[in-house]
């Protein structure tokens, strides 16, 4: 069954049969689902404004009796919030920036050259996509301990340079849509393949660069187990510091303060999401192999 692209196009321009009743039902269901998806975040914000006592009172109240903005102040001061936020951002950049360059180079290699052994290495790349990184974390921990790399950011630099298999795959897919003529002319003029990549391909690849940057940044920004195991003390990231730090002297967790810290922690994520969503979505779709 070979679907003709043209026919498909014409068909989509024809008026579609519409059923009004079905449409209203669709809206009702979607709005209910959207509410269910949003309420958890609303509840997070409301709870972050409650007092410690309100958090353990049964039954709960929907709105805080009096909004405790103090919680946000406590969240920023109870732990060294800005220090850990800086750590988190630095770590994300250490992973992302070199990673973009190397994954683009690897992606170009896989997209543009044929060589004996390529198939094997490409299959290895695909298998790596399916191995949960966390399963390798303990062996890596043992190995990095031997190399005295534990509790340094070099680990993230190494991970970045090694290239996330997903990002290599995304670059490879993106580059393989470029016509061969694009590089042939440049190569004839004496440009090297590296020159083709950096002067011709990458300037045309802004969308995939943004996609990979966002995915890469958010991967490290949101990670918990990596920094929990490989970093300690002042070097750790916000995710770990928040989970450990918002405790009163008597050992009781300061839930509303923790929730305030989390709201602040979410702000960059939501900003990235709102402004970069187009790229974010594109990354997902091309990773699954669906044609756009």
């Amino acid at each position: 069954m070979n679907m003709n692209k043209n026919k498909d196009h014409i068909a989509s321009k024809l008026p579609r049969p519409k059923s009004g009743k079905g449409n209203i039902l669709t809206y009702v269901v979607i709005i209910i689902v959207v509410l269910l998806f949003v309420i958890p975040i609303l509840w997070l914000i409301l709870s972050s404004l409650k007092t410690q006592e309100e958090m353990v009172t049964f039954p709960a109240t929907f709105f805080p009796l009096k909004a405790q903005f103090q919680n946000y102040f406590d969240a920023l001061t109870k732990i060294n919030y800005f220090k850990y936020l800086t750590n988190t951002i630095v770590l994300s950049l250490i992973y992302t920036v070199p990673g973009i360059i190397t994954t683009a180079v690897f992606g170009y290699g896989f997209a543009r050259f044929n060589a004996p052994g390529k198939k094997i290495f490409f299959n290895i790349l695909m298998v790596l996509l399916l191995i949960p990184p966390i399963a390798v974390l303990i062996p890596e921990y043992a190995f990095f301990t031997k190399l005295h790399l534990v509790n340094t950011y070099y680990i993230w630099l190494l991970w970045g340079i090694a290239g996330n298999p997903l990002f290599i795959y995304l670059f490879k897919q993106f580059f393989s849509y470029f016509p061969k003529e694009l590089e042939e002319a440049a190569l004839l003029d004496g440009c090297s393949h590296i020159g083709v990549l950096f002067r011709i391909f990458l300037p045309l690849s802004k969308s995939i660069i943004v996609t990979v940057s966002l995915l890469s940044f958010l991967t490290v920004y949101g990670d918990f187990m990596g920094p929990a195991i490989l970093l300690s003390g002042d070097n750790t990231t916000l995710a770990v510091a928040m989970a450990n730090g918002y405790v009163a002297r008597n050992g009781i967790l300061l839930t509303p303060v923790l929730l305030s810290g989390i709201v602040l922690y979410l702000i960059p994520v939501i900003l990235i999401f709102v402004f970069g969503q187009k790229y974010y979505v594109q990354g997902f779709i091309s990773s699954s192999g669906v044609k756009e």
Binding site: I30, A135, L266
Partner: protein, 307 residues
């Protein structure tokens, strides 16, 4: 000419390895060597400090007799199954809804996709606050219906709670299915509608079969993701605070005691690296077997002709 061709091929090979050489080197450095290490440790009594002593396959044998370990494998498989089924059905349902021509489609899509981007630690505490017995919203709503109604979901239905968290974050698979639905040629759907097929029949007999390759992909990725779950089950039911080892040593309810938790506790709480490594290899083996079995069973149903 023939000679020239020969040189060209060689040059291309050289270029290929120049481009991916660093990747191969790094792959060996951060994957192969640690994995080899891991296999070696699995044959020793390594505790993280003193010199490892070779013990053969006894770690592997002992694990099979350890009910906590075998139980954790079983729980992981049960969780993987229900997690994948729930996520697949609901994300297919939502993707199908969103693929209809409706106003505000982009907005609805964004809102449903947003939770996917929420980091682990935030997700856990959001749901802990929602589901907990005293101050949770769920009990607030139940209580307003009937004051004697109250559920301790986190304690009594821990796996259901955990799966709810993952369903909330199904945005990634929903987006992929949505793209899949939008790629289905309208002509196919319209032909069926003209022949009098109901929307449900169109969905089940035309759309879903066309999406089988994507469903397969989601299941394989889902197996991997479900086996990687560790932070959520621990933090959903225990209190954070103190050092990381203290965090790890807290016991989630037995329903949510997964193999990865067992592995990390063996390594960092009990200092049994050898046992932890052997358990990791078992876990990897189980994942591979599940994935291969799944691919084998479903091979007949997958529809690959549609391009």
């Amino acid at each position: 000419m023939l000679l020239l061709k020969g040189i060209r091929i060689k040059q291309e090979t050289r270029m290929f390895y120049m481009f991916i050489g660093l990747w191969i080197a790094m792959f060996v450095f951060i994957n192969v060597i640690p994995m080899a290490y891991s296999f070696y440790f699995s044959l020793t009594d390594y505790d993280g400090f003193s010199a490892p002593i070779f013990v053969g396959f006894s770690n592997y044998m002992n694990l099979l007799k350890d009910h906590r370990f075998t139980g954790s494998i079983l729980q992981t498989i049960i969780f993987t199954f229900f997690n994948i089924v729930a996520t697949l059905i609901i994300s297919l349902f939502l993707a199908n809804l969103l693929s209809k021509k409706i106003k505000g489609q982009g907005f609805f899509r964004s809102v449903l996709f947003l939770p996917y981007a929420v980091p682990i630690i935030a997700t856990v505490f959001i749901w802990k606050t929602l589901l907990n017995r005293e101050s949770g919203l769920v009990n607030l709503i139940l209580g307003s219906i009937n004051s004697s109604l109250s559920l301790n979901i986190l304690v009594n239905y821990p796996m259901a709670a955990l799966i709810t968290v993952f369903v909330w974050q199904l945005g990634g698979s929903m987006i992929i299915f949505l793209a899949g639905f939008q790629n289905i040629p309208n002509a196919l759907v319209e032909a069926a509608e003209i022949d009098g097929a109901s929307p449900l029949a169109v969905l089940l007999k035309i759309k879903i079969p066309l999406l089988t390759p994507l469903i397969m992909y989601q299941v394989i990725v889902g197996v991997m993701l479900s086996f990687s779950v560790i932070v959520q089950p621990i933090l959903l039911t225990s209190s954070p605070g103190a050092a990381f080892t203290a965090f790890l040593s807290q016991q989630p309810p037995s329903q949510n005691f997964f193999t990865l938790i067992y592995i990390f506790q063996q390594a960092f709480t009990n200092q049994n690296f050898g046992t932890a490594m052997a358990a990791s290899w078992y876990m990897l083996l189980v994942m591979v077997i599940i994935s291969l079995l799944f691919l084998r069973i479903t091979r007949r149903f997958v529809f690959y002709e549609y391009e």
